[in-house]
Symmetry: D2
Subunit: 194 residues, 4 copies
């Protein structure tokens, strides 16, 4: 395969990028100045050298090693662990005012998978939970079939830890109207009425 | 104003219809057979004669008078009253498996309104609640600013009834992902975690 | 069928309206004041009485009989006839600055139809063309398969009239970029380059 | 600025990419295997080494030097030169069946720019036109204000070359209906009727 097609294929693996846009990326780089390409190549290669994966929550952050800004912040509530799918979820949850800790699961488990461990950081999560000080695990998975499947497996796996295992509430999301809500969401909203 | 413009204006008041589509409706009627127009006119005029407003929940239904199919169904749970904004909400809630009764509020209260009674059936609701047999009122308002405003006013108004006043749970709606949820919804989902 | 379902079905035949919106229209009318319904019914029934179909271009207009505003305007170019599919097209063409006459075909011919006359005003068009004073017929059909099919049939049918038969130019529409244009449009734009 | 933010900023300059997606790209790379990053960095850096800019049409292609596949293909019509804005346009025009040559302008001229030469390859185009064998220049610019502005400047600049200077036809694009076409497109379609 030629260099243009090979790089196009690499960009096609980027999240949300199709063949057409991948090709435009390559065109953009082709017509860019050589030193922009050199800079970018350097940055991508150096990404590993200047960033670290937090040893506690497994998110990526800028720094030599150790703990990320949240895990290293002793003023945050150490009793609550918010289990999320991916790094990007953290930014969003932070905006909601949550003040506890996080654990990045690294994905969800596809239906029918016989090796859940291959898709999520289950061993790392168990190890994290075994540490002292936690009282509650909040499962913050997507409200999708695969998210539900993963949540059920985690609930089953963690039920003997003695910790409170909770899941995010389901119901009407902000801005939604009853007339357009799906029956499943209405049923959840009825169940969680308060 | 000429007949075409006048009817266009009438269609513009239909829910979700703008000037362009209103005009297309008139064109459709203009080029339709005269007896289609006559039929349609007859049906619109007769709508009041062949339909009634349920004396208990205030929804419109086909029939001479009295109770609608839900209110007249003695096998439904008579202890729970689901307060909704409009007739169309009922179809959707029915699909969720709810088995109690309904009350159609007829709208929401605009922020700053000094006469709430003009916008919703508050007197009728109080009268309905005064009847025997109810134990819980579920407030099923839209998760919008105006819906919240209306919900708060109702909670205040009904707090001395001795009944349980609940509201639909807020949280992640079915199908949504944490990364794209708004902070307000995440905060609600955290509050209603279970 | 009951009155609500019957009227819902009637609204479903309106251009661009699905079952859900049709039902909302009926709800809107149900909860409207009886005299709004009576007024609307009156207007729909009276549509035929106060409007006429232009005897020359076949569009519908407000008036007792005779010619519409364009056909009755002697200052417009009487030599050019713009053949369009439906009344609503006229408003749009007028905004482009066209100063000639119109003829409303009333539709397009489905592929494979054995009776084209059932779908468009072919006889009326021939009669209109037989009148004195025309030098050019502009076929203003949609750039779709069915529009092309209709255009070809009209070109064939009208080729012996001795008039210039032209069609709207194909090419890049205002605002479009070459990168996103479909190959067919680019081929047309190349053919009609000037 | 830290490595994550710096790479995010670099991705934000990619065509069609906003801050949110740029961040997801970085997350994707962060959680990718180090050798995927190394590979990608290598490919981006090597892009210049393994690709060349065609000396005749200025598009980028895979090869050591010289002419691209179209310019080096002696069976293509050497008399017609299709002037386009960017490399990606060529793929699309090829699908339309065009069999002549290309010239990549490299952009369009912003309104009010006092140095057009800075935005497009004007000198290179003049040099290319000065070569023997051309009879027609087709200006294939976007049907936008900036595209029109560039086209007018080129028409002015090239009018003394003795060559036919044509522009892509404007009109209804394939699939469009008269009712929804903008007045400008209808006016063009009337002008280019045939």
């Amino acid at each position: 395969m030629n260099p243009i097609d090979r790089l196009t294929e690499a960009f096609e693996k980027f999240p949300g990028i199709g063949p057409r846009q991948a090709r435009r990326f390559v065109q953009y780089l082709l017509s860019a100045a050589p030193n922009l390409r050199a800079d970018m190549a350097e940055q991508i290669k150096a990404l590993g050298a200047n960033t670290s994966q937090c040893t506690e929550c497994y998110r990526w952050f800028v720094g030599k090693s150790g703990l990320c800004a949240v895990c290293g912040n002793s003023s945050r509530d150490a009793a609550t662990l918010f289990v999320i799918e991916k790094d990007a979820d953290i930014d969003n949850v932070e905006r909601s005012g949550y003040k506890g800790r996080y654990f990045v699961l690294g994905g969800t488990i596809p239906l029918g998978s016989e090796e859940p461990v291959k898709h999520i950081r289950l061993r790392e999560l168990k190890k994290r939970i075994a540490e002292n000080g936690l009282t509650e695990i909040i499962l913050g998975l997507s409200a999708t079939t695969e998210g539900d499947h993963t949540r059920q497996l985690l609930q089953e796996t963690l039920k003997d830890t003695g910790l409170t295992i909770s899941s995010l509430g389901r119901g009407l999301s902000t801005g939604s109207e009853l007339e357009y809500a799906d029956p499943d969401t209405i049923a959840s909203a009825l169940n969680s009425r308060n």
